[in-house]
Structure formats: C-alpha cells, structure tokens
Amino acid sequence: MEKSIAYAHGHETKVFVAINTFPRAGREQIWHSAVDDSVTLGADALILADLGLLAYATDRHPLVRRHLSVQAAAANADTINFYAREFGVRRVVLPRVLTIDEIAAINREIDCETEAFVFGSLCVMAEGRCSLSSYVTGASPNLNGVCSPGSQVAYRECDGKLVSELGGFAIHKVDRSEPAPYPTICKGYFSAGDFHGHVFEEPAGLDGSALIPQLAMAGVTALKIEGRQRSRAYVGAAVRNLRRAIDNYAAGLPVGESALLHLSEGQSTTQGAYQKAWR
C-alpha cells in the first residue's frame, strides 16, 4: 500500500482509503489499526461511515481529511451539516436515491464538497441501511463489506433455461443464449401479488455520464466510479471514458456518447434516481 500510494502521488493522483464497513463489536482495534496505518502510509483522505470510527479518526488524526462514505447514507443537508460539524467532514459521497435537483438544493445548504456516483452498480436501497444480502446469505455490506458474495451464487439449468441462485433462492431465469445477470436480491425477478418481474430494479448498471453537465451545475465536486470487486480492465476503460467526458465538458464540448454499455450490469444502463420518475 505504501508503494501504491507513492506511485499514485508520483503521478499526481490522490489516494482516498475507504474504511467504510461498520467495526465489529469487540474487535474495533482492527478498524482503528486500518485508520492509523492508512494515515501513516500517506493516504490523502479516509472515507468513513461509522459514527464511532469517525469519532476515533477525528480524535486521533484531526489533520487528515475525512470523507463521509455513501454507506452513511447522508441524504439531506441537515445530516451532512451534522457530520461536518461533529467530525469536520470535508466531502460527502451522496447516496444514489437523490435527484439532480435535490443534489443542487443540498449543495446550496452545505459548506462541504459532494461526490456523486456516475458509473457502476445502482444501489436502489439507501446504502449502509440494507440487510437484503445478509438476510439471504449471512454476509452484508455493513458486516462484511460485501453484497451478494460469489460463494453464495449458483447457476443451474432448468428446462433449457439458466437459473441464477443466491443463497438457495432462484433470482433470475434466462435463455441459454442470453447473458445471465449477477444475482443480487434488489435486481431479482419476483412475484408480488399480481406483479411478476423486477420488483425493485432491472438488472441494469448506473451510467450517469450523459448527466455530467447537470451534475456539475448542481455543484458536485467529484464523480465516483465504482471500482470495488472490479477488474483492472473494467476500471481502466471506465476511467478513460469518463475522464474524456469530463475534459470535453470542461472544454465546452459535448460530453459525447457513453462507450461503457458493454461494462454495465446486464449490458443495460439507467440514470437511476437522477431522474425523478425513477421513484
């Protein structure tokens, strides 16, 4: 990690370290060490979600930049101002449940920076407040830092179709010729009363690249690309494309067509909650 941070710094790139699981009771020392080590190794900011860990970092490393993780689900200006006041938070990663108008309104009421997801998965639930994964698999983002872990995924054939299962529950069924989406509960195919379909969300990824001008106008400081549990090729392609779009926007040019469709979940994309009709 020390070498990686030095390499990044040598290329004028900052390194923010996400320590955004919720420390396990009785074992908090592990998380405290992660905070201390990241500071010692030169991290430019810590991305935190847990109140206790924020308090620890604020107390021990008051001069190190603290960002509020999306896992803290700070969804309104009062909450953001609370974190800024209590823990000196300098930037907040916004949950994926807000419209662009709401983001603009939040930015008018706060003093810290905001960062918005522009590409990656689409969490349809308030992040850091979702136990769907642990209900079915025993492991959750909050407890384990994972959602729908691969160890609990199984694929089986049934009547010529490919069925995807998570924790023993059948989540999807597709023709053998179609791509099978990764089975997360919130993108699953279910029945609810007379409704049969994707009750929560289609298996689509978030691509907000076309909204870069609107996000910039709304006062967003940084765009976030989801990189966790992703390959180097994925991250490289996503970053290159979005960098070009941002540079185009900064130069007064159109941001251009998104070239990222092939990287998205189920090879389809949505602008998610950024459009109000999504709700």
Partner: protein, 307 residues
C-alpha cells in the same frame, strides 16, 4: 425457572399503512391490556401516510400514558424532502414525549443535552458508536436486527456501563432496507409521487415470492422487509444472558396483546420454552419464523435450540 433479570417488553411503531380506525383501536387495546412497558408511536416508513392518522396520535398517546405506559415518538427512517425535515425537527422539539431517532438528521435537530432513544434504523454496530451516542444524550438503543449474538452481548455490556437500556428486535417482520423508491407503487405501475396508497391494501406487507414460488420478502411501501417473522421466543434466556434489557415486538395484525402476554409469561418463567413457542405459532397462524441473524447465519434461517 425464573430468568436472572427482569427483561421488559416494548411495542415498536406500527410500520404498515393501517386505516386510522384500526390504528387507534390497536393502541386503545394496548393501553387497556398489553403487559408492556414502552410503546413507540409514529410514522417511520412513509411521510405520505401520516396525514391520514395524524389527528389520532394525540389521543392515542394520552390514552397510553394514562394507562401508565411510557410513550416514545419514533421519527421517520429516511428523511429527504424539505417537508420531512421540518416535520422531523418539529417532532424532536415536542415536549412531553421521549423521541426515538431513526435517521441521523434527527440528531441535528436536538437541542444541547436533550435525551433521546436510538432506533433500529441507526447503525449501532459497536461500542464506540454507542459511546458517541450516549455522550450526545442517548438513553437507550434498539440494536440493528442483523447483529449476531456476540455483537449484541458486547454492545449490551457497554450499554450497561453507560447506564443505557439496550433493546433487541424480538418479534415481527424484519426491516431489511429503505429506499427513495416505493415498491408498492412500482408493482401498481406507479411512482412514489403519484402513488395511490397501494400499501394500504396490505396490513402486514405484501409477500414477495421467488421464481420457484418460495417466500422471500415483503413489501411495505419504500420499506423492504423479511417475509418471515423474526421470533426470539425460544431464545429469550440466551438473549437475557447478554444483558439485553428490552425485547421489541413489532406490530402485526395478529393478536399483539396475546403475543406480548406470551413473551411476558415466558420471561417470568410462568411457561416453558416449548409451550411459549407453540403459543406464538398458534397466535400467528401460518407464518414462517426466523432467528438466523442472532446466530450469525442468514437472517431467514430458523435455528432450533438443541434439546
């Protein structure tokens, strides 16, 4: 056998969209008959529902207080709209009732030194977070339902040191997620802003089944819940051993007075585990139960105690 300490019972807020009359009748009966100490009142799930029973709240609170119950007002779990922020701020500053905070924004509205309770929608996963909230004025905490027993025990021990009550989700469908999007509206082909209150059809939530017909979840507007009812009736002794001070029973349309009486009798040692378990099953009818989270397993699982 009498269990080592007196564990109290609470009734959580009604999470479903009940008609105002059902809502009022429910609290009237709790006031008269339920052997519980604390009762939580208020709209936690969707601010659009509140106008339909807002006028009934003062009457319910008054009746419960006259019956000697401690009444706690619960805040909304996901506060985003300007109107929701104003309502939450007003509620936190209301005199006469304790407040249960279910969204961090409510902390921002508290005046210095004001006491409050921490609801199950606030992420209290460890002792440091509990200490932070205690410093801020918290007097009790209801732990997130996904915590395993080891975490429950560690946090309950810290709560005892800090003189906080520590509550655990012991009965009822488990709140698993909250969203900006309304899923009742979605299955009706509508959106949250244009919803026709489809959630009012389902007084215990709308069951969700997988492709092969297995029950998995339940929809409750913007909230997603477990299909199974969490049920710790068979685990009350091990939960009491951790130092948990209160068991929370979450309202359903089944006979909640009978559910509370069964938990009370079991806690008092008046009935054994087997009888209590059978009692709860009979009261609830044909619903699956779960307690897997307590054992660090999938929440959906039901782990039977070895004989």
């Amino acid at each position: 056998m009498i269990l080592p300490q007196r564990v109290s019972l609470s009734i959580g807020p009604v999470l479903f969209n009940w008609p105002a009359q059902r809502w009022s009748d429910f609290y009237a009966r709790l006031a008269d008959e339920a052997p519980v100490d604390s009762i939580y009142v208020g709209e936690v799930v969707c601010s659009k529902r509140l106008p339909y029973y807002l006028d009934a709240i003062a009457g319910a609170v008054d009746r419960l207080q006259r019956a000697g119950k401690t009444v706690v007002l619960s805040t909304l779990a996901l506060v985003t709209l300007p109107r929701e922020r104003r309502d939450c701020a007003d509620m936190v500053r209301t005199d006469g009732c304790e407040i249960e905070v279910n969204d961090i924004s409510a902390l921002a509205y508290l005046t210095g030194g004001q006491n409050f309770r921490v609801g199950p929608y606030i992420n209290v996963y460890n002792e440091s977070t509990l200490r932070y909230l205690a410093d801020f004025g918290a007097t009790s905490v209801c732990l997130p339902p996904e915590l395993p027993l080891a975490s429950v025990a560690a946090i309950a021990a810290e709560a005892r040191n800090l003189h906080l009550d520590c509550e655990i989700w012991a009965f009822g469908r488990i709140p698993l997620a909250i969203s900006g999007r309304c899923y009742h509206a979605r299955v009706d082909g509508l959106t949250k802003d244009s919803c026709q209150f489809g959630c009012s059809r389902d007084h215990d939530g709308l069951g969700v089944q997988t492709l092969d017909g297995k029950d998995i979840l339940a929809l409750n507007g913007v909230q997603t819940m477990s299909h199974s009812y969490c049920n710790l009736i068979d685990d009350v002794d091990r939960v009491a051993d951790t130092g948990i001070t209160t068991l929370r029973l979450s309202p359903h349309t089944c006979d909640m007075v009978a559910i509370a009486q069964t938990f009370r009798d079991r806690l008092d040692g008046k009935i054994g585990a087997e009888e209590a378990t059978a009692c709860v099953s009979e009261i609830c009818g044909d619903v699956p139960f779960s307690n897997g989270y307590l054992f660090g397993r999938s929440g959906v699982e039901m782990i039977r105690k070895s004989p």
